[in-house]
Amino acid sequence: MSRWGVIRLLVLLVVLLVPLRVSAQVNLSGDWSPRQHEDQPDRGPGPELGDYTGMPITDGARLYGDSWDASRLTIPEHQCKVHGSPYIYRGPLQVRIWEEKNLRTQEVVAIKHYISTYEQSRTIWMDGRPHPPEFAPHTWQGFSTGRWSGDILTVTTTHIKSEWFRRNGIPYSDRTTLIEHYIRHGDVMSHVTIATDPVNLTEPYIKSQEFVINPRPQGNWLWPCEYVEEVDRSKDEVPHYLPGQNSFVFEFAARHGIPVEATRGGAETMYPEYMKRLRTLATRDGAAK
């Protein structure tokens, strides 16, 4: 075979193999429903006030949580706020996933999510585009780019609006970066999130959720929201507890017999070694009683 013949054969192989590689990726498309047995108390009824267990939070985040008053959600501008990408997959939701392809090349340009809760849409760009400049607007779901590592879709999200890691007031800031891993096993999909937030976390905060494909996606996919005046109050009044005045945050420890210190969060409470400390605290608190 001539030199040009070899080159032509190589080019032909590349042309044939590239689409094979692309089409070999796992397809996440479908309507998915969550299985909420994992962390159910946190995700269903919601966390109790003052339960910061296992969260690598800063002292500032703890104060934010202690100051949190759910009445803040009665302020008209707060009423239609939604859960952002670091939290929204924890709640009751249905998520529809599909691929947007370039019709000419059949390459995946983006993977789209439509989330029933709060009618939220996400675009995960797969075409290698850069993230926007830091002064661009932020959104609830942020700006996402994805790449495949084998059969794992890894998504990086920036430009997220501030909201909460837990519904009892522990916040994440607009400087949060979210890394997600989507792993499909047949009709089950694991979703792992790793959040870093230089404002509220001292270490990454890792969570996981499971979804099951739903061949009969019935139910409500809409979430209309219109605010109303719930409380007649001054425009510069924001419900919150002054430092040291929120006694409710200690009820969780008392109700479950957990040392207060252990409920206050912090990176050390995430690790198995903390069990030793917990036993010491339990002994100390028991002796004090």
Binding site: G60, S67, E77, C80, P132, K161, R175, C225, L242
Partner: protein, 329 residues
Amino acid sequence: MSLSLKLQDCRIAGLQKGRERLPEGSIRTFCLALSAILQFCIPAISAQGPIPDIRTLHVQGNVHILVGAGGNVAVQIGDEGVLVVDPGLASTSDKVLAAIRQLSDKPIRWIVNTHMHPDHTGANEAVSKAGSTVSGQPAAIVAHEGVLTRMTEANIPSAGRPLNTYYGETKDFFFNGESIVLYHDPAAHTDGDSIVFFRRSDVLVAGDIYVTTTYPVIDLKNGGGVQGVINGLNRILALAVPEHQQEGGTYVIAGHGRVSDEADVLEYRDMVVIVRDRIRDMIKKGMTLEQVKAAKPSLDYDRQYGAESGLWTTAMFIEAVFRDLSAKK
């Protein structure tokens, strides 16, 4: 659309310059490769802006933001010309003008100042002289009269001062097909603040009443106050209308930092109110300034907005709120 246009442009170039030497297939291959490169390059160029130091972003409607000139610069463009809100530092005026010229070749007709600080007004004179009113004068500079008073006290040359002032709560005019309304909130960041509302574009320019990078700078010496900042933030909340689920709709250009919407301003307003309430409570308890600082009344926001050093530290913010509230006790 953009792909086909580039291909067409490329084909024309190829036909004109190289048709005799290159076969049609090669031209097509070259065009596709160039097109692919352009597809990657153009978003990056757009995000970076025309000049390395000044980056631009189209916000919405007729309004763009220029970043890198001290305070954020807002530019409204249209058939009638260019309007600049806060042209920035004197030292970056050439770069701001060059960036504006990348957006429009129409004359700069108006400059609006949201307040008197030089990171927002330093380039007034240069940008004004680079533009012209319809009668051939340097572009008119508009601001609340408090800005003129303060800049006159500071001996700023008259060509850099706003001589087109208002002293009531609002001033409005029509330019480039939309209503432009200036709202004055007394004793906020300073005593001469204006919030600028481009009504058709649905963009608010907040000046330093709203920033995303630091705690609000309360310039007590120039008539500022914490309640005025809260009132200004509440005005933004009253004017802004989100598009869907508290997102989008009206966009807000901060004095410093990122482009925002109502939900972002809401979080900032809540922060200022909460910190004010805590310091007010400490003052009621008879705590001294040093005791208040030691109690860290802004701890939950310090890693977001605070600073240990620089032009506006956490300690300076707490002291400003403390002194303002103590004076009004």
